[in-house]
Amino acid sequence: MKRQIPLIIIITLGFMFVAHSFIPHKISTEFFDWFQDWVKAISPFAVSLGIMSLFMVHGTKISRKVPNWQYSVVTLGGLIFTAVAGFVWGTQAGTPYMWLFENVQMPMSASMFALLAFYIASAAYKAFRARSAEATVLLIAAVIVMLGQVPLGAMISKWIPETSTWILNVPNLAAKRAIMIGVGLGMTATSLKILLGIERTYLGGGD
């Protein structure tokens, strides 16, 4: 019963919402609005799961003194310090919380993503080395699109920005459209599997 009752709840509510999408009656609309308030009230508690998971993983590393356990102290220290700063001094501009965001979190996350520029260049080199016709087409399209975004492209030839726009509007659109149709069908199939009780991994292990 520990698995069956949650399954009955999701199947019943899920199919009720499917029916509501096609037959939006006043009663079902009111029920849906009421239910949404419930879901919104449940959702902030999911953060506790993330916090507990982080504390369990890094707490275990610290207590067992595994190699590089000192970095776990940095992670937990950063978490506690930032959260406390937000609760004590607020989240408005000019508070220590926002100082941490502007001078610690934002520079590091921007640098982390900027770092990917180098690894993407390395990946492009490896793709070009593959010497297959498909890889070459991919790289030519990428180079034209990149040059089309910067003034250098127009300086080399006026055709580069025009070709870049054509690539984005025609073959790229065809690829995106086909992939979106595939994604939509995949999402629908997965949602149906959950609603029919075929997909149950989200319930976790145990009884």
Binding site: G86, L100, M146, A175
Partner: protein
């Protein structure tokens, strides 16, 4: 003075991240660990202010909608997820959140499938719209694996591969430019705000 210290800390952390380009080192590991902690710590007060206060605290304590105590109690069952004996209790908040997917089925069929198919079926009035139609159909055929990709069918699916490669190339180019733009931003910060070499 305060701004100088702030810029120095931001520059130190930026360079610590970039030091990974040389090799994995203690400075990078420190910055990486700090980023994880600070990012999570940043999210907690935000969720508290933007979700917990308006949807839990205000309805219960200010609007006196005591029925909201039930979903709040259901939400608190999440903490049993890591318990061996009471882990099953955490399924209840999960299924209440997941049941919304009933709404997502018609929505995803409409926005991802029907709208896209309708756009692909517009009258073919030029070479570009014909190419878009051919590209969409051949890519969809490529993902149909119930028929072997041989003979004429194989040649048709090959056309789909070429369209996909151009599409991936365009996405790749856009991603590279976004990352390079971030890199330029960090270099501008280091040379301008921190060292004052660029104005």
């Amino acid at each position: 003075m305060f701004e100088t210290i702030s810029n120095f800390i931001a520059a130190f952390l930026t360079l610590s991240i970039f030091s990974f380009l040389y090799k994995d080192n203690p400075f990078y590991k420190f910055a990486e660990a700090l980023l994880v902690g600070v990012s999570m710590g940043y999210a907690i007060p935000l969720v508290y202010e933007s979700v917990f206060i308006p949807y839990v605290y205000t309805p219960i304590f200010l609007s006196h909608k005591f029925i909201i105590i039930i979903p709040a109690l259901l939400g608190s069952l999440y903490i049993f997820r890591f318990s061996k004996n009471l882990g099953w209790l955490s399924r209840y908040p999960i299924v209440f959140g997941m049941s919304i997917i009933g709404m997502s089925i018609p929505m995803s069929i409409n926005s991802y499938v029907l709208v896209q198919m309708r756009s692909a079926m517009l009258p073919i009035d030029g070479i570009n719209s014909a190419l878009i139609f051919i590209g969409t159909v051949t890519i969809l055929l490529y993902f149909f694996f119930s028929k072997a990709h041989k003979g004429i069918y194989g040649k048709v699916t090959n056309v789909g591969i070429w369209f996909m490669m151009i599409g991936f190339g365009a996405s790749f180019g856009y991603t590279v430019m976004a990352r390079v733009s971030l890199l330029i931003g960090r270099i501008q910060f280091l040379l301008g705000d921190w060292l004052g070499l660029v104005k």
